[in-house]
């Protein structure tokens, strides 16, 4: 075992930085897309639920069922199952772009459920007040539910993002790229403990940073 260690190890000196960037890109893209699609889905879930603006119990049960199915499939299996879909969307089943597809599909229902719960926190009275002012359902959603739930929605996006960091690492096991791939191919398969430790440290730093930024933004928009 005379492999070069730590700062002499090319796996760390040359591959660490691009892997970190890939992980950040995957996390950022999938978080962004999950929020983009998960927010409307969460609002839809909430408004069709019992006590929602346009309660439709049957539709709610169907939506809820789909969301729960997606959430209950272990992520590693979801990635493999989505390989054809990823290939269709980005033209390849490998690389971080393909991983973003699976990550997004996995994160949308996760975020949607958190959105639904955040919206439920908005007091009935505020909604009634807006309805009394003659607001339409769309106005109530845009002007009352979403702005009032904003700290919760941002908190939910933070939780989703942190979860996605760990998912990117899992995706590394099936050719997803990023720090996970580096940790598995060098740290695990080639017994490079230094690479493994370096990857863990960077992942911890990324998660800490996301949580810190998320908390700061949530606090900045919270006027309660």
């Amino acid at each position: 075992m005379n492999d070069p260690m730590w700062f002499d190890n090319p796996a760390i000196t040359q591959q660490m930085l691009p892997a970190t960037i890939e992980t950040l890109l995957m996390t950022a893209w999938s978080t962004g897309l999950a929020v983009l699609f998960g927010l409307p889905l969460g609002i839809w879930l909430f408004t069709t639920s019992k006590g929602g603006l346009t309660a439709r119990p049957a539709l709610y049960r169907v939506l809820s069922f789909i969301v729960d199915i997606t959430r209950s499939i272990p992520f590693i299996i979801l990635i493999i199952a989505l390989i054809p879909f990823a290939r269709f969307v980005v033209g390849s089943a490998l690389g971080w772009q393909a991983t973003v597809v699976s990550l997004t599909v996995g994160a949308i229902p996760f975020y949607a459920r958190l959105v639904e719960n955040s919206l439920r926190e908005v007091s009935e009275g505020k909604v009634e007040a807006a309805l009394m002012m003659g607001a339409s359902n769309g106005q109530v959603v845009r002007q009352v539910y979403v702005p009032e739930a904003k700290p919760g929605l941002i908190g939910a996006a933070t939780v989703t993002s942190v979860t996605l960091v760990s998912y990117t690492a899992m995706a590394g096991a099936v050719g997803g790229g990023g720090l996970g791939a580096l940790a598995i191919s060098y740290g695990y398969n080639r017994y490079q403990a230094d690479t493994m430790i370096a990857c863990i440290i960077v992942l911890v730093l990324i998660v800490t940073l996301i949580q810190f930024i998320g908390d700061r933004i949530a606090r900045a928009v919270d006027h309660r």
């Binding site: 505020k126 309805l131 006027h223």
Partner: protein
């Protein structure tokens, strides 16, 4: 301005509102009182279209609210400004943006609605708190913002649902004063739903008592209070809580009489020694002045010392309220009641 005709609301087998007829003329402050479960909340939900009545009509300024739906209903709701017990301001908006919200919903341009909102905040005395978030305001200030918001769309009717129930006494007085001054200034019609008799006494021109989903009594404040023997009058102008069971003399600041602890003692002694039951006589003051009642009482040999308690208010320049005499015998109480009734003053034996 506000007209309810045969308003009825049934939930399953429960009749929440049974045939409510109510009419509030423009510019009047009308109070609706009733115990919880009397139908107050259901009434307000029907008035605002949050619930649709099972039958009957609600019309505001001649426009029927009951046959509307969707956008027609949203349009109609803008003619009603609503003040809530829990204010229901949006925490994510500053005071001025909360006040501007109804105008935003109505599609008024940003510059225009903010100008109007600033103007309204000035009117409610919060011009300097425009950029504060609700969390930075006191309960009374929040309710002022709530009132300014209710007025933003220039409604014809201000509906207040327990507007002061979450506020302390002095803040309540300020808010009620504000509502009254707004009525005087803008000529707006106000409907206040409350369980606080003090609110009714303080600012209402007329009042309706709801009981079991029906209008138990309705009329101007003076009418209702001076109505002999009415329980609403007794609730509106309550006697201080003293009776023969109390050992001490009345200390309530509102109480007129009971200065003689001796009277109390004498009465109790009488009852104790002769076995004669103490008689309480309640006299309703309705336009008759206190001296008139006293003169009448003296004519049958009942002195002011016999007054156990009294509660008198001046409403619309007339003294209204009740006085409770304590008398040693049934004969004496009959004599007093007869003498008072001869003068056209209502009196009854109290329990």
């Amino acid at each position: 301005m506000i007209e309810l005709r045969g308003l009825r609301k049934v939930f399953g087998d429960t009749v929440a509102l049974a045939e409510i007829d109510l009419s509030v003329p423009a510019g009047e402050i009308h109070g609706i009182v009733g115990r919880s479960g009397a139908g107050k909340s259901t009434l307000i939900r029907c008035l605002t279209g949050l619930d649709s009545p099972s039958s009957g009509t609600v019309s505001i300024d001649g426009a029927d609210l009951t046959d509307r739906s969707g956008s027609g209903m949203r349009e109609a709701r803008r003619s009603i400004g609503m003040v809530f017990q829990h204010v229901n301001l949006l925490d994510s908006r500053t005071a001025v943006h909360n006040v501007a919200h109804p105008l935003q919903i109505a599609g008024v341009s940003k510059a225009e609605r903010l100008a109007k909102a600033h103007e309204l905040l000035e009117i409610v005395g919060l011009g300097d708190r425009a950029d504060n978030y609700p969390a930075q305001l006191s309960g009374g200030q929040k309710q002022r913002v709530g009132i300014a918001r209710a007025l933003a769309a220039e409604p014809k009717v201000l509906l207040c649902d327990e507007p002061t129930s979450a506020l302390d006494a002095s803040t309540t007085d300020q808010i009620l004063g504000l509502i009254r001054s707004l009525r005087d200034r803008l000529g707006i019609t106000v409907l206040i739903i409350t369980h606080e008799m003090s609110v009714i006494r303080e600012i209402c021109d007329s009042v309706t008592l709801l009981a079991d989903g029906r209008v138990a009594r309705t009329g101007t404040l003076a009418e209702v209070i001076s109505e002999p023997g009415s329980t609403l009058a007794k609730d509106l102008v309550p006697l201080p809580p003293i009776g023969l069971d109390d050992t001490g003399p009345a200390t309530d600041a509102d109480a007129v009489g009971a200065d003689g602890a001796g009277t109390d003692d004498a009465g109790t002694d009488d009852a104790g020694t002769s076995g004669v039951q103490i008689r309480l006589v309640e006299v309703a003051l309705a336009g008759t002045s206190l001296p008139q009642v006293l003169t009448c009482a003296q004519s049958v040999g009942v002195s002011a010392d016999a007054i156990l308690a009294g509660a008198v208010e001046t409403i619309e320049g007339r003294q209204v309220g009740r006085i409770r005499f304590t008398l040693a015998s049934a004969a004496k109480s009959k004599e007093l009641i007869a003498a008072l009734e001869a003068e056209g003053i209502y009196a009854e034996e109290a329990a």
